[in-house]
Amino acid sequence: MAAFAEGRHAQAFPSFGSERMGAPVVSFCRIDDRPIRTREPVMVPDALIIQDVTLIHQVDLFAGLLKDGYVLVNASQHFDELQFGDFFDDFHRNRLLTCPATGIALTQLGRPLPNAAMLGAFAALTGEITLDAIDAAIRQRFSGTAGKQNVAAARAAFRFVTLEEKGLTSASAD
């Protein structure tokens, strides 16, 4: 919705699983300057957003990811503290990042719903969409308090990533 608001073409679709709480779920999004016709799942992602760090050792998360891809993980640890071994050695280090999105969500929403925060972090990491467009999309989807709180979460995560990129790793996630 944010990309659409910026005049681009976008397609988002989930892959449903076993329909139980806690099951691994996957969702795909394409953003393009041309109309999108394909219906195949995204198999070679430019960016991968991992909402739950415990999935890392359960599912083949990085299948199809190229060396110049972006990886954003919801985790309170630093990216280098996650136990990836040498898997990411050939990647662009500045495209690999963690964001404590669940912590941000608990602060801003009072509930562990990291989605909006991860969107804000994604915008800061990739520059693919603007924070304003994310704000507008969230407000369109969620009215009232839920909208305000999710916007706050997205902004806080955006700020966290911006500071992180400046090397100010001591900045707290407000």
Binding site: Q11, F13, R37, R39, E40
Partner: protein, 417 residues
């Protein structure tokens, strides 16, 4: 207004613009979001006057729809998969009675093994029920087809099923231009029933017909389907004039003019196939694509004309007749029986298996080299099949196939792609 919106939501809002007076449905994935949204529109008063009737099953949903339609109410319902099978007796009755119900079918596989994902087995199971069956390629077309469906249904007094791929379309968020109420009102006048149950002017509907006239009644149904073949392109042209875009019609042709190889398919997979065709065109291969929008009635003449210049046809189908082969392929073969044409059937995407551009391109390369078998299953994992066949050959009590295969794969969660 153009909006970035979930397919189910776009369909629900469009159905609401068509001013149904009765909506009766029973939830089943992947149709649920459509009727949830319609239920909310009725409850909030945005869709009024309209009665949303909760029922205990799909059989009841279609039965109530029949009753509502017979009393002169514009009636809508939606279902998928096992839900369609559960209501199938009433589905045949709706067509036999000539009641202009519009139903969305959010296409989903049929069990066993139970599977919630997309294919076209459900639509094919109702192929001969007497309904008009229209297939949407995109969410824009899914929305637009509903407006045309009410008009078509009421013009001909026949029920219309709008088929849209479950999850792939129903749950995809993409751009849809939703029409304005006044434009829909201009295109779709209030429902004027051909037959009406009215206590003040009693008639009976649903008489028993014996051998003396049953064949004639059926033949009249056939003639009405032929009328629909004439009517569908007229309505699509009128829709294009009113709304400024092409949606519906009998079929869509893409780069077929000089094509040697033409792919024929139904529904959302056409997008991926068009991308594959463009890629092959860029390497000098003359490939075109035909999307069949009106599957029932089947546009024999239009299909024959569209394929007249081709040397080979590849029909990509998300369903198959076990013990026979392709379903759509059979129709295409019938339409082109007097043409010198090689027809290949490719079964793909069963139970939600992703159909990738890469697989389509690879398969078409085989077809163009004359190496494609007459019936091919795309991306079939031969290892799984050979191991299960070996288990079955090894012992009489080899156990249930579905469980054996999952154990063999070590699968704990479903994967798409």
């Amino acid at each position: 207004m153009r909006r970035q919106i979930e397919g189910s939501r776009a369909v629900a809002e469009t159905v609401a613009l068509c001013r149904p007076e009765v909506v009766c449905a029973y939830p089943i994935s992947p149709q649920t979001h459509i009727i949830e949204a319609l239920g909310a529109l009725v409850k909030s008063g945005q869709l009024s006057p309209c009665e949303f009737i909760n029922v205990e099953s799909e059989f009841a949903a279609m039965s109530v729809s029949i009753g509502a339609s017979a009393t002169g109410a514009r009636t809508y319902t939606a279902t998928a998969s096992q839900g369609l099978l559960f209501m199938i007796e009433a589905v045949y009755n709706a067509a036999g009675l000539g009641l202009p119900i519009v139903m969305t079918l959010a296409n989903r596989a049929i069990g066993a093994p139970i599977n919630i994902w997309n294919d076209h087995s459900d639509a094919m199971a109702a192929r001969d029920a007497g309904w008009i069956q229209l297939f949407a390629e995109t969410n824009q077309e899914a929305a637009d087809l509903h407006i045309q469906a009410f008009r078509l249904a009421e013009d001909l007094s026949l029920p219309v099923m709008v088929c849209m791929d479950g999850f792939i379309l129903t749950h995809a968020v993409e751009s849809v231009d939703l029409p304005e109420q006044m434009d829909v009102d201009a295109f779709l006048p209030p429902y004027e029933p051909r037959q009406l149950l009215d206590p003040n002017d009693p008639v009976s509907i649903g008489a028993m017909v014996g051998p003396e006239a049953f064949e004639e009644v059926r033949y009249l149904s056939y003639l009405r389907q032929l009328d629909a073949l004439e009517r569908i392109p007229v309505l699509a042209a009128e829709f294009a004039a009113s709304f400024g875009r092409v949606s519906g019609g009998l079929l869509h042709c893409y780069r077929t003019e000089d094509a040697e190889t033409i792919v024929v398919a139904l529904g959302s997979v056409l997008g991926t196939i068009k991308d594959a065709a463009d890629a092959l065109r860029a390497t000098g291969q003359r490939v075109g694509v035909i999307g069949i929008t009106s599957f029932r009635p089947f546009p024999h003449d239009a299909v024959r004309d569209a394929l007249s210049g081709a040397r080979r046809v590849v029909v990509v189908e998300k369903a198959f007749s076990v013990g026979f082969g392709g379903v759509l392929s059979t129709d295409v073969a019938m339409a082109t029986h007097d043409a010198d044409l090689s027809i290949r059937t490719v079964i793909a995407g069963l139970g939600g298996r992703a159909i990738t551009q890469r697989s389509i391109e690879g398969m078409l390369a085989e077809a163009m080299h004359g190496r494609l078998e007459s019936l091919t299953f795309l991306d079939l994992d031969r290892g799984i099949i050979e191991r299960e066949r070996a288990r079955m050959a090894g012992t009489k009590r080899s156990g249930p196939t579905a469980e054996n295969v999952l154990r063999d794969l070590g699968t704990v969660a479903s994967r798409i792609g």
